[in-house]
Symmetry: C2
């Protein structure tokens, strides 16, 4: 799909346009092609992350929020970007920030194992990472893949990152959910998976995102087994998921068999990984982010401003006590 000659021409066009400031028509003439083609290549160059535009300036309010997040929740680091008017842009902007952050992390630290999750934000993240050569690095998927639908899968996520970094790649070649907890245990007991899981647990960095329970969630739409509905999960207090495991407003994994069916690194083992980067944002994920913050699931949080502020507030207020309000079984507030 994207061979090197193609890419080289694209780079050439992008160079002439962005660096030398030539006009699209001039480039077309110089290179002997249509202006339209130049135009499309430029669009492609931007969406594929061949060119990246960065601002050398931070917004004061965001910097401030980052600092209070780090302080209050014992994070290693936080990156907050301004919330865009268009909610659809959130993953794109988070991806830019996360990509930049991770690229710097990789360039300044010797990283041997990088585990990655799955989702729209992470796809954007990968698009925005600088290409490089990391022959010693092993990129691996920390969760199983979808069995149907959707071109965006965990396998593709891991391999496209590994590809961009010229790194090794290891897949978790299994579905994301087994048919039952018992079946999950049987699968994981097979020796082909032992080594894989050992490597996953030994990663230096985990790059994950959070899913919510709305219909916007890819996991909800394409990943949930047919025999599980979001209602059951919500009834048990679920506000979001990480690596396919659903947790409540306090960040505790809820007591539902689905969690025991997930083929992924268990959330309670996440803390063993030195650096857990959590990139997620958007209004619909406020509660989920708050839960993750409260439970200390992340060591680095990348989020948009409004969501981070609301989640911070939420996690802060309820930090001391958890109150399930007498007989409230209805699905929690929206």
């Amino acid at each position: 799909m994207m061979n090197s000659a193609d890419n080289s021409l694209e780079a050439r066009v992008a160079w002439l346009y962005f660096m030398e400031g030539m006009t699209q028509a001039d480039i077309a003439e110089k290179l002997g092609m249509t202006r339209l083609r130049v135009n499309r290549m430029l669009v492609e160059a931007r969406t594929s992350g061949l060119v990246s535009i960065t601002l050398n300036s931070r917004f004061a309010t965001c910097v401030e929020l980052e600092q209070s997040l780090v302080r209050e929740f014992g994070l290693k680091d936080a990156v907050i970007v301004p919330t865009p008017d268009d909610p659809d842009l959130v993953p794109v902007l988070l991806g830019q920030a996360a990509g930049e952050y991770l690229s710097n992390l990789l360039e300044t630290n010797r990283v041997r194992g990088l585990g990655i999750g799955w989702g729209a934000t992470l796809r954007e993240t990968i698009r925005n990472m600088r290409a490089g050569r990391y022959p010693e690095l092993c990129v691996n998927s920390m969760m199983g893949g979808l069995t149907h639908g959707l071109e965006l899968n965990t396998f593709e996520t891991a391999s496209s990152l590994a590809n961009r970094l010229n790194a090794e790649c290891q897949y978790l070649a299994a579905p994301i959910y087994a048919g039952s907890p018992k079946s999950r245990d049987i699968i994981l007991a097979q020796d082909v998976f032992r080594e894989t899981f050992e490597r996953i647990a030994a990663n230096d960095i985990a790059v994950l995102s959070i899913g919510d329970l709305s219909l916007r969630s890819l996991l909800v739409r394409y990943g949930l087994p047919r025999d599980v509905t979001t209602d059951e999960l919500v009834a048990l207090g679920a506000v979001g998921d990480i690596l396919g495991q659903f947790y409540d407003a306090d960040g505790h994994v809820i007591d539902h068999p689905l969690n025991a069916r997930a083929i992924a690194l268990p959330l309670d083992q996440l803390s063993r990984i030195p650096t857990v980067v959590l990139a997620s944002g958007g209004k619909n994920k406020t509660q989920a982010v708050a839960g993750a913050l409260k439970a200390g699931l992340a060591s680095v949080v990348i989020c948009d401003e409004d969501t981070a502020r609301a989640a911070c507030e939420m996690a802060r207020s309820g930090k001391a006590s958890r109150r399930p309000a007498p007989s409230q079984r209805r699905r929690s507030s929206r």
Copy 2:
């Protein structure tokens, strides 16, 4: 001239345009200003280096050339950018590359002293460096300043960089050339200069560029004392200058009193500085770059492709003349 409110608005506009992809007219409406004003702020944002555009791809021919430069001339590193059609763009493009390179260098190494030269390329370089906080860093000017003409001076160069990096700044508060060698020695013997020069010689990094002897050279046009002509220098074999000191095709400082009048770090002391980054390009500087390469004045070269190729050829052919065992500074900092 550029207060923080102004800058913050500019950042906001740039964010909305480049990150959120809003149209200039929409931004104007949203922020309650004219489209014209938005347009001008965007131009300003780009020229001031607030936004920077980078390509995540390298041209194969350039990478190759970099490698052979490193190998043949014992460099630590080299960065080659494609030569643009418009020669006026060379400093801009070199500045982009050099700015990116230096930013990475600063972010990955603890640097305490950074000395800087003077010129159009270096101004562009500074524009393209990422802002940051380096309270432990001292930026200093490695040469005296012009006494007349031209807004671009060594003082401004050093201070604008220090400003961008939130670092200390130390000037070399002296003219670039004294009236005579003797006068130079007298000036340098004053204790106010001793400390300054010690610090300059103890820098971890020097960021310099090369001047040639054409009328394009700022030093020739504005910096040379009235009693010295380029003809005399050329007659002695001069092909270019570094820090105001002219050298010949072999990179040897020529025997002209002007060199003994320069108030700057002497070129023969340059080798004490662990990392000397030389950013220069353009056809008119081919010989000068060749000389610097041959004499091993630089440890990192940033140049455009055509010039580097020609200079490489030139330096290679006449290399037999002098080049003992390369016990160059090779200590890698990585």
